[in-house]
Amino acid sequence: MKKGKIFSALIAVTITGGLLASCGSSNAKNASSAKASPTKITAVGSTALQPLVEQAAKDYQNKHSNVTINVQGGGSGTGLSQIQSGAVTIGNSDIFAAQQTGITASKLVDHRVAVVGMTPVVNRDVTVKNLTMAQLKAIFTGKVTNWKQVGGKDEKINVVNRAQGSGTRATFEAAVLKGAKALKAQEQDSNGTVQKIVSSTPGTISYLAFSYVNKNIKALSIDNVKPTATNVTTNKWQIWSYEHMYTKGQPNAATQKFLNYIDSKQVQNGLVQKLGYISVHDMQVTKNAAGTVKQQ
């Protein structure tokens, strides 16, 4: 009796498996007959870029039913190493491939799809509204430890960093520390957590992408320049970075079409700005991997 049950279960499994397999192969056949190029695109990496790519992929798939786009996070480092090994179609990154150790940038093709501005943020109880670049550097290298040293009230400065190797941190340190060694301090690995900690801990300073600044925290201006999108486009506000979508060599036709879609006016003027990024079309300057800025 028992044996009979086991056998019937086995048979059931085999049949279902066979059915599934045949389904799968017929699907694949249909898809490949409809379009010759591979229709599955996988984009992995930067969590800062993820919301944009996810939404763009969703809109794109609504119009192009023969394409499946799978978007995942994992961090810029993951994105770059996955695209280098060829495991994914697109590697999303906040930093230039050349800035990451262990990545051969020459093998990857860079597609810049957006710009992100970052700003120092403080808890609301901090009375300081503006810092000079030198003061900001002194805070993040640990030379200034009390807000009264930079014109605020007598309160200890609590520095919160992003994780080592995160794109936001790399951008911030390249623009502010310029090679100086950062103070050892708290590290958090997401924008959301930083936002929460800054808003709830008195005397705290950290940095965030523009889109994460809300009314519970305060963005500082640097050398009396306000952190706005307009100031980023002219490089008056210097802490910003590109959002990159890397492909290994030149992308295939389907991937190129998707990248073109993200670069289109419709997405750049719509979705990109709606989600708090800055359009690459608006930039009046360019920045290279070494951080040199040129007029366009």
């Binding site: 969590t47 993951t78 080592q164």
Partner: protein, 307 residues
């Protein structure tokens, strides 16, 4: 005669069933075994690459105090001192177990001996419910409620070993409680009766006989709880502060092995030193869990009451 001979020499239906069952369980066991070996191999090769490929000395890894894998230190080698993380991991684990054990044993005694009806039906399921809550929820509650409370009570930033310990305390409580009550239930009823017949009060019976008989089981429960605490990543990461610094007090930001692992793994490239050292941290975790497991076996063998 021939048919009889044939029947005797042929395997019966029952023995075929025997083979069948045996092969199924053998298959499952070997699959799981292979899985474990594969994971061990993977973590070992990656974790050992730090020492074989990048030529970091084991000493500077285990005893160094500066963690900055992307920068070259004074001795010409990348700074990959993991000691602060090892110390913090051990500290939160031991403290959480120390804090949770009296509560867990108390609850276990209550639900098994003192009020088996009400306790067993109501309290134990409630505590076991705690196991099912995802660790990110614990972390978020810790970050939203516990961190501000600690800051309010003790000053500082509110992030640190104390907060991590308190979060882990709640997380290991159900593990220790349910394993401890299992071992209390396993104490033979004869022991109870004999103790009571000799004139022991209930408390004397529980304290001198039942707890003593269940001691190896309770210790095992504590170690399982510690293993859980040692490996917990997300909840601790949210309240510990993640600064790789030697803990200077109860409430200074510091970092555990797991929190550094989860923070760093997405930001490093496979095959480079910053990534390899993270695998080395994972290797330490693996070795520690091996240690906890062998400790459980050792206690199980040594601690059994002599008949």
């Amino acid at each position: 005669m021939d048919r009889m001979k044939q029947n005797l020499h042929q395997a019966s239906k029952a023995s075929y069933q025997d083979y069948f069952g045996k092969s199924i369980s053998l298959f499952c066991a070997s699959l799981v075994g292979m899985l474990v070996v594969a994971i061990l191999y993977f973590v070992m090769t990656r974790g050992l690459a730090t020492f074989t490929q990048n030529h970091i000395s084991l000493r500077s890894f285990l005893l160094g105090q500066t963690w900055n894998p992307t920068q070259i230190g004074a001795n010409g080698q990348p700074e990959v001192g993991a000691l602060p993380m090892i110390v913090t991991s051990l500290a939160v684990t031991l403290l959480a177990a120390l804090l949770a054990t009296p509560f867990a044993v108390g609850v276990a005694l209550f639900v098994t001996e003192i009020a088996p009806r009400r306790g067993g039906q109501l309290l134990q399921p409630m505590i076991e419910l705690l196991v099912g809550i995802p660790s990110v929820v614990y972390g978020f509650i810790g970050l939203s409620a516990l961190v501000p409370l600690m800051r309010h009570l003790f000053g500082g930033t509110g992030f640190g070993i104390l907060t991590g310990t308190l979060v882990l305390f709640v997380m290991v409580l159900p593990t220790i409680t349910s394993l401890a009550s299992d071992s209390l239930r396993a104490v033979p009823l004869d022991y109870h009766s004999a103790a009571l017949a000799l004139g022991a009060t209930r408390w004397q019976m529980l304290y001198k006989v039942v707890l003593r008989a269940a001691l190896p089981g309770i210790l095992t429960a504590v170690i399982f709880g510690m293993a859980r605490a040692f490996g917990e990543a997300l909840a601790v990461q949210m309240v510990i502060g993640n600064a790789v610094l030697m803990p200077k007090g109860w409430l200074t930001p510091t970092s555990t092995l797991t929190s550094q692992l989860t923070t760093g793994i997405g930001n490093t490239t496979l095959g480079t030193l910053p990534n390899n050292v993270l695998w080395s941290l994972a290797l330490i975790l693996l070795v520690m869990s091996l240690f906890f497991n062998s400790l459980v076996r050792f206690i199980g063998r040594r601690g059994r009451m002599q008949k």
